[in-house]
Symmetry: C2
Subunit: 198 residues, 2 copies
Amino acid sequence: MADFAAPPLRPFSIRLDRSSLELLPAGPVLTRRLSDLEGLFADEAAWRADVDNGDPIVYTVASSPVPETATELPQSITRIRPGDVAGELYFTKGHMHPVAEGEIYLGLEGEGGLLLFDGTDIEFLEITPDRIGYIPPGWAHRSVNVGSNDDYSFLAVYPGGAGHDYGWVLEHGFGARVYAGAAGAELRSYPQPALTLG
Amino acid sequence: MADFAAPPLRPFSIRLDRSSLELLPAGPVLTRRLSDLEGLFADEAAWRADVDNGDPIVYTVASSPVPETATELPQSITRIRPGDVAGELYFTKGHMHPVAEGEIYLGLEGEGGLLLFDGTDIEFLEITPDRIGYIPPGWAHRSVNVGSNDDYSFLAVYPGGAGHDYGWVLEHGFGARVYAGAAGAELRSYPQPALTLG
């Protein structure tokens, strides 16, 4: 697997390949299967059954070689497959930046949702091609594929020193879960009762 | 004119409008005419004549409301008109980040060049749609429209605290100038003799 480049970097150009959904030259590619998302879906039994039944890929993250170190500005393309666990739509693990810095997501294909949570408030943004979701400092963020048949893919650009705190999510949750509803994506609170929609 | 939003920002979505080349909702829009680029073109007399003859717009920079303050990640679309001053292709003023942080340019339309200079070395990257130019910390950067008839536009994403040092360019130059040549863009050294091409 390709690795991140070691600083100091020289200027170089990167191709955003919309068919392969890679950044070329390529950096590391991360693949998350359903088993990697243990403890995150509401319906634990349904999650376990799907893991035992093929453990599908939920998403991949393809980075450029620009490293995740302070003062650099790395990029990656996340591609989330369509699917759900007992109605809860496939999502990324989600994280908080331990260093409070902003990030952007630019929609490339499909229909996505960007769920944000600052520990108190929830926001849910629809992301489609050429739509940028702005993630301010201090907001945990998780992406969801809200399309029923197609992949949802987006370009992320983020400060290399911001970091990824996944533990924050296990501790605080995300304020809401996203389900396939009759009229599109539907937000429900942790653990279950109805919640004001985004 | 729209202004930058005041922190703290809440999450929001921004539309990248490829026909108007705006980010919507809109932040400030900057317009640079030829007269704003005093002292930057090699041929001062030709520059003066063009300023006196209509003072054309050379480029515009349309920002989103995400402010240029530390920990935020602002974005803008720069649109450079086709044109030249005595053969020297239209360019942006160019700047160095006083806080050494990286930046990316994503090509949206037309054919551009990204000229980079760290005070010693020169790099020149071709930027076309879906091509990302990576600007590492410590490299001054200037964009050039190398297409003969069309606008060149790109999306910039940059750390809000990086800043813009235009004086660095007046002091150090850019190592090279970009001219319309028989076989495309041609780099020439400051002030004139031939130079190794990028």
